[in-house]
Amino acid sequence: MTAVPAVLDERFRAAAAASGELDVAYDLLEDTPVGRLLVGVSERGICRVGFDPEPEAELERLARHFGPRVLRSPRALDRARTELDEYFAGRRQAFELELDLRATPEFHRRVLVELNRVEYGHTTTYGALAAQVGAPRAARAVGTVMNRNPLPIVLPCHRVVGANGSLTGYGGGLDRKEWLLRLEGALL
């Protein structure tokens, strides 16, 4: 048996996304300045940005959180890809993508919404973010929220640093955090 012709395959993937029947359309962005990214969008908005994706685990995770109709469909990712490209090129400071945080627990969501107010090129601390959501002693819990951020880069957890100014940690690795902060001019 021979493989399915690429044209046919691409046509189906595009038609599936256009049908509105997908729970999540995703694609792999192969060569961004921070490496390989998996990006997922639902009908509601962007629902996943993953560093160094292991496709098997990512697909299972998306299916568990959003439903089993998960399909790679590059066409459906056009807008997200454009905004990310612009950001990486230093031509975009804020994302306009709708966010789908359905699968995120309530406390996490509150923290992430607050995080989203931290502007391009600025940083905040875990403690400050904790105080802003009314849980001043929950700096550690805020750290966990950052670590599990389903939308890194878009929701800028790289802008959160330790009280002493150290970078502390990053779900995608400290090198990437540093690169992102340098891009934004928050680090010299």
Binding site: M1, T2, A3, V4, L8, D9, R11, F12, A15, A16, S19, E21, L22, D23, L59, E60, L62, A63, R64, G67, P68, R69, V70, L71, R72
Partner: protein
């Protein structure tokens, strides 16, 4: 998620076989359109699947029905034979398949999917490109026809 794989995995696993099947049944040219039609129908029904078993036979049944529907659109009056369902380990189906050979394609597919694969009518309806009620009617019409044939034997 009772063993239902992400649609991507399902699609990757069965695309080659579905296309080969469609080319055999409908010819190279028509197979391209039917390929998309088959997987769009499967996608529509996929969210309502209750388990991930027999997905290969399920999608080939959808493909067979897409062929029948397309042929019917082209020449509505013609009598069409469809032998949709494929061999599978499930014994109930093996017993069922020869029995249902003489049923009209829709009824046969509905009976096989219902009693051979244990799918609910909602899913069957989506797979056949119709709805729950039509699937239920097709299955019960099929069963009635089988009973009648049995009595006549």
């Amino acid at each position: 998620m009772s063993g239902i794989p992400p649609f991507e995995r399902f699609y990757e696993s069965h695309q080659v076989e579905v296309l080969a099947f469609l080319r055999r049944r409908a010819g190279r040219e028509r197979a391209d359109d039917l390929f998309q039609e088959t997987f769009l129908r499967a996608l529509r029904a996929y969210g309502r699947l209750e388990h991930g078993e027999h997905l290969r036979a399920w999608v080939l049944t959808i493909a067979a029905n897409a062929v029948v529907d397309a042929a019917r659109r082209e020449r509505p009056a013609a009598e069409l034979s469809a032998e949709p369902v494929v061999e599978d380990e499930r014994p109930a189906l093996e017993e069922l398949a020869p029995l249902t050979d003489d049923l009209p394609p829709k009824e046969r597919a509905a009976v096989v999917l219902r009693y051979g694969y244990d799918l609910d009518y909602d899913t069957i309806g989506a797979a056949l490109g119709s709805n729950e009620q039509a699937a239920r009617q097709a299955a019960s019409a099929g069963v009635r026809r089988l009973r009648k044939e049995k009595e006549q034997r």
